[in-house]
């Protein structure tokens, strides 16, 4: 009985234990359920977060091509050394890493040690190492040599690179070196575009990086199933309008000129297609090698300062402004012709100077050119003729055209830092300023603006937006963006443009310019301007030429800044450079040479203005315009012509010239009614009638109109008579 009781008590106590354990087992089950099911996804994502590491896959940066598909900037794959200091700390191999990497990377041991012992799990050790170095490092990381043969324990001893890895990176190479360096630009160490096209089109070129998500501790040697791959999207290719052949001609010619003329201020050349605004070549001196943009001779042992670098990287064509000098006479000339304030043969006189606004402004030919006209004045580059022409154009029209030719705005070009240049405000633009501006002094423009405007003179009158990017193509070859030639506006009529080509050709030929290319029809104009401050004896010589003149395909603007050679004149410095470039381009374009002084075989020509010419001159002009001619009447001067100047006709059409004495050319005109009109309208009406405006009263403002005039409408007066017009509020 007692034994049974003991046994029963023991049994109860055993049962108590069973229930105690069951109690704990139930708690355990509940707890596991809570962790795995209730909190499962939360813990899982936290676990994934620490278990995985994202490794960025650098996309391949797009290639920059020239218009012919020649590579100007390409990316190649290189390795970058990175460290995981956490792993290194755990495996205590920092000293082995330092001892192994320092000689290979040619880095200071202390520097490496500092990097790999930082308190982080990712550090760059060395970026973009060359393939020889990366081969040596890869050997120790993989434990295998290049042929896949395992290295022995002895060979690996002391070279435990655990925590060090190689990451694929890309490096930019510029096969052309300094070719078009100021256009292409270059990238920084992180492959970000820093200058030029590389900077402006960075978002197209760089692409989108991808990533590999891997187990963060897999360390390359440990097994891991988890690896997700998100493809990188390679950058787009940029195709430039640059023709690297032409660019090469330009670079070579400019190299020689830069040395020969000792251009202290540098030099630049811009070659465009005036019919599209495409930039075919663009170069600046001094230049630099895109593969090492920070290394060039600075005259001292020290590395170039930031200012020196920025100076060297300046694209003068786009960023710098200059006084265009006499090249601008072409613009003034076109305005005069477009506005018909004068014609090519209206007589002018150059006494060697002109007093404007009480100031004596000299012609460079101080003894004077004597009797002249617009054409001769252009050939001679005679300032007094142009000052008189500008006076006829008048302040308002000059001001207006300065805008319409695009000098008051950027061209919205593809490259950064584009300048606008400076011009007078309307109220500061008076008689003297009007006079000097006619020959390109007193204001500034960029070479790009100048070339764009001259393009309009020869292409039929259209201002084309200049551009250097032709197309953007993605890595599969699909065109993403394509630049079509953009006409900004028509600035002058086709007739004026045709005449301008004739003038440019005549100027180049008759001035005996060094810009000529034997066997080709070229037009051009030189310019020389004194840099500010006046009297510094620093000049800018420039030349702008266009060829073939009957069907312009190429426009070339050469600027030599502060030449210190034998001459500083544009005609002596820039012109030969333009000639050399043009000759190579025309041969490269396979343009057939001809005898060199007749205008074209194109079907169309234009009737020149021959009124006032001597019969001999008129014959020459008519021939040069591919016209047949007949004379009517007697005398040695053309008094009138049929058809009128500017008319478009077929080649070999007839121009009929009525002869008489110079006195018979009409010197009289009828005063038009100019009351109740705006200042601009008055100006235009009077100019059409060959009269000059003498504005009185308040001539500017919103509601200003002309109130009265003197002489009265209908009065017959001599040409160039001043008509006094009173302006006031309506």
């Amino acid at each position: 009985m007692g034994r049974d009781k003991t046994s029963k008590s023991t049994r109860n106590r055993i049962l108590f234990f069973a229930f105690a354990f069951l109690f704990f087992i139930i708690i355990i089950c509940a707890r596991i359920f809570y962790i795995q099911i209730v909190k499962g996804s939360e813990y899982k994502s936290m676990a994934l977060d620490q278990q995985t590491r994202e490794k960025e896959i650098t996309p391949k940066r797009g290639t920059i091509y020239d218009r012919n598909g020649k590579e100007l900037a390409v990316s190649a794959t290189v390795d970058t050394v990175v460290a995981d200091p956490k792993i290194i700390k755990n495996s205590k191999n920092a000293d082995e890493i330092v001892a192994t990497l320092a000689p290979i990377l040619e880095m200071d041991e202390a520097d490496i040690k500092e990097i790999i012992t930082r308190n982080s799990s990712f550090e760059w050790v060395a970026k973009k190492i060359d393939s020889e170095k990366s081969k040596q490092i890869r050997k120790y990381i993989s434990g295998k040599d290049e042929n896949g043969k395992k290295l022995s324990k002895e060979e690996l001893k002391g070279h435990n690179l655990g925590g060090i890895s190689l990451v694929e990176d890309s490096k930019r190479f510029y096969p052309g070196g300094s070719l078009a360096s100021h256009v292409i630009g270059f990238t920084g160490t992180d492959n970000q575009g820093l200058e030029g096209i590389e900077a402006v089109y960075d978002k197209f070129l760089k692409g989108n990086s991808g990533k590999i998500v891997t187990s963060s501790k897999s360390n390359g040697t440990l097994p891991s199933d988890y690896e997700k791959y998100f493809n990188a999207q390679d950058g787009n290719d940029v195709i430039l309008t640059i023709d690297s052949n032409i660019q090469y001609f330009v670079e070579k010619a400019l190299d020689e000129a830069y040395v020969k003329y000792k251009a202290l201020g540098g030099a630049c050349v811009l070659v465009t297609n005036p019919n599209t605004g495409e930039v075919l070549a663009m170069a600046t001196r001094p230049t630099f090698d895109l593969n090492s943009p920070r290394q060039f001779a600075t005259g001292s042992d020290k590395p170039a300062t930031l200012e020196q670098l920025q100076e060297r990287w300046r694209n003068k064509v786009v960023v710098d402004t200059y006084e265009p000098g006499s090249v601008f006479k072409l613009i003034t000339c076109s305005i005069a012709l477009e506005e018909k304030v004068t014609n090519l043969t209206d007589p002018y006189f150059c006494p060697g100077y002109l007093i404007v606004g009480g100031q004596k402004i000299s012609c460079f030919h101080t003894s004077g050119h004597g009797a002249s006209n617009l054409l001769k004045g252009t050939v001679d580059s005679c300032n007094p003729v142009y000052m008189q022409v500008a006076a006829k154009i008048g302040k308002d029209r000059m001001f207006k055209y300065f805008k319409t030719f695009g000098f008051r705005e950027t061209t919205d070009f593809d490259l950064p830092g584009e300048a606008i240049g400076s011009f007078w405000g309307y109220n500061d633009y008076n008689e003297t300023e009007l006079a000097t501006s006619s020959f390109g002094q007193g204001f500034t423009v960029t070479p790009l603006q100048m070339a764009t405007a001259i393009g309009a003179l020869v292409n039929g009158g259209y201002l084309y937006k200049p551009h250097v990017v032709k197309e953007i193509v993605d890595s599969n070859g699909n065109v993403i963006k394509s630049t079509t030639p953009t006409r900004i506006r028509q600035v002058i009529s086709k007739e004026t443009s045709d005449t301008m080509r004739y003038i440019m050709q005549t100027t180049l030929v008759q001035s005996g310019s060094l810009a000529k290319v034997d066997g080709y029809d070229i037009g051009g104009k030189s310019g020389t301007s004194e840099k500010l401050p006046r009297g510094s004896n620093q000049y800018i010589g420039s030349y702008c030429s266009v060829a073939p003149i009957n069907d312009p395909q190429v426009l070339c603007l050469v600027i030599i800044d502060d030449p210190r050679g034998a001459s500083y004149y544009g005609g002596q410095t820039a012109a030969p450079v333009a000639s050399s470039i043009m000759q190579q381009i025309l041969q490269y374009y396979n343009v057939q040479p001809n005898n060199g002084d007749s205008v074209s075989t194109a079907d169309d020509t234009v009737i020149p203005d021959v009124v006032g010419k001597t019969t001999e001159d008129a014959k020459k002009i008519a021939e040069s315009f591919n016209l047949k001619y007949s004379f009517r009447g007697k005398g040695d001067t053309v008094v009138s012509q049929e058809p009128a100047a500017g008319t478009h006709v077929r080649n070999n059409s007839y121009i009929t010239m009525n002869l008489g004495s110079p006195a018979e050319i009409s010197q009289e005109t009828t005063v038009p009614d100019v009351t109740g009109k705006s200042a601009e309208e008055v100006n235009a009406l009077l100019a059409d009638a060959g009269l000059k405006l003498n504005a009185k009263g308040k001539a500017s403002g919103g509601n200003v109109i002309s109130l009265s005039q003197d002489p009265t409408p209908g009065t017959t007066v001599k040409r160039d008579t001043q008509v006094t017009v009173n302006f006031g509020e309506q």
Binding site: I14, A18, I25, Q36, I37, K39, Y43, T221
Partner: protein, 379 residues
């Protein structure tokens, strides 16, 4: 004398087949999980992903051999005073030795080197302590057990003497197991529960004071309640374990696919093997483990209740308690319900001594089962 002789010559019946099956299943399951959990660690450290599995296989083979041999030796022979007291003296001395000359690992000296093999003397000590306590308890009269001095006082004394070297070793988990074993056996054996309840406040107070006596221990205890307060420091292991268990979900990531074993959980084949089981085999795998231990508990209790005498009952309950206490504490630790102590999961964790002596203890349990006296079912 006659009774003793009768038992000695009694032909042993077959061992409890279900108990044996559960033991074998758990050891094999454990081997698979050790192989999986340790592979990365082994590859990383020894360039041989099977390093730990191979060691564990050897231990399991030796352990099964010992289990078989012991299961064929009558437990009354093993539980003879000479063997018990000599054995107890020996393991006590070895534990003391470990405290002074043992290998220091993770701030505790619990290993000693015997013939090139690292052994934790506290592991055989657990078995010896069970047999010792059961023997003493089975020899005491009901009256003696009822008194404080010869009952609870005596057993508290045994606990004190036994854990003294462990305190020097700073071996908290074994200390707790020792205390649980002596209390459990003496309680089932008939010690007056009143005195235990009276001593409980002192015990709990002492345990708390001990658990919180230094900053290291304090942090571990505090982190047991919110390991995310310091996930990179003292809460690290608990947090990593929760990540592993949580990642498993219902079906797990699949055998061998644990990510947390890749250097996040240190020594994943040892104390935290249950976390890897949860991660790789999910809730299904985790509950399988719990079910196996629950079955084991019932079979152990069955063996105890059918044991032919009090000594057998107490040894069987001691061994069952040993396995279950370690199981519960281990799971509490890895599920962040208790401070991290070095508590292995019996049958599963790698670490040779624990499995070897666990299997030797199971030999003893099987031997008791072979002497079962069929009774009406306990439950």
């Amino acid at each position: 004398m006659a009774k003793k002789g009768h038992i000695k010559i009694k032909k042993l019946s077959a061992a409890d087949a279900e108990l044996l099956s559960i033991i074998v299943i758990m050891v094999l399951f454990g081997l698979v999980m050790v192989g999986s959990a340790s592979s990365v660690n082994a590859l990383y450290r020894y360039d041989d992903s099977l390093y730990f599995l191979r060691k564990q296989l050897i231990v399991a083979a030796v352990g099964f051999a010992f289990m078989y041999i012991i299961s064929r030796i009558d437990y009354h022979i093993i539980a003879s005073p000479v063997i018990i007291f000599l054995g107890y003296g020996a393991v006590w001395f070895l534990m003391l030795l470990a405290a002074f000359i043992g290998d220091n690992r993770n701030g505790a000296n619990r290993w000693i080197d015997i013939g090139g093999i690292s052994v934790q003397p506290s592991e055989p000590a657990k078995i010896v302590l069970i047999v010792l306590t059961a023997y003493i308890c089975s020899k005491q009269s009901k009256a003696a057990l009822n008194r404080f001095g010869s009952g609870v006082g005596l057993y508290l004394g045994i606990i004190g003497v036994s854990v003294f070297p462990l305190l020097l070793e700073r071996h908290k988990s074994a200390t707790i197991v020792f205390a649980i074993l002596v209390i459990a056996i003496s309680f089932i054996g008939g010690a007056n529960i009143k005195y235990y309840l009276m001593m409980a406040p002192f015990g709990i107070g002492g345990a708390l004071a001990w658990a919180l006596h230094d900053e290291y221990s304090r942090q571990r205890v505090l982190m047991a309640f919110d390991p995310f307060k310091d996930p990179k420091g003292s809460g690290y292991q608990a947090v990593q374990s929760l990540y592993a268990i949580g990642s498993g979900g219902i079906f797990g990531l699949g055998l061998g696919r644990s990510q947390q074993k890749i250097t996040y959980i240190p020594e994943p084949q040892n104390d935290f093997i249950f976390s890897i089981i949860c991660e790789e085999l999910g809730l299904i795998g985790a509950l399988s483990v719990v079910v196996l231990f629950t079955f084991f508990m019932f079979r152990g209790i069955k063996v105890a209740s059918e044991a032919p005498d009090k000594l057998g009952k107490l040894i069987a309950m001691g061994l069952t308690t040993l396995i279950m206490a370690q199981f519960v504490i281990n799971i509490f630790v890895v599920t962040a319900m208790g401070p991290v102590t070095g508590m292995p999961l019996p049958f599963f964790s790698a670490g040779g001594t624990n499995l070897l002596f666990t299997l030797m203890g199971m030999g003893l349990l099987l031997n008791i089962s072979r002497q079962s006296v069929k009774k009406r079912p306990l439950i």
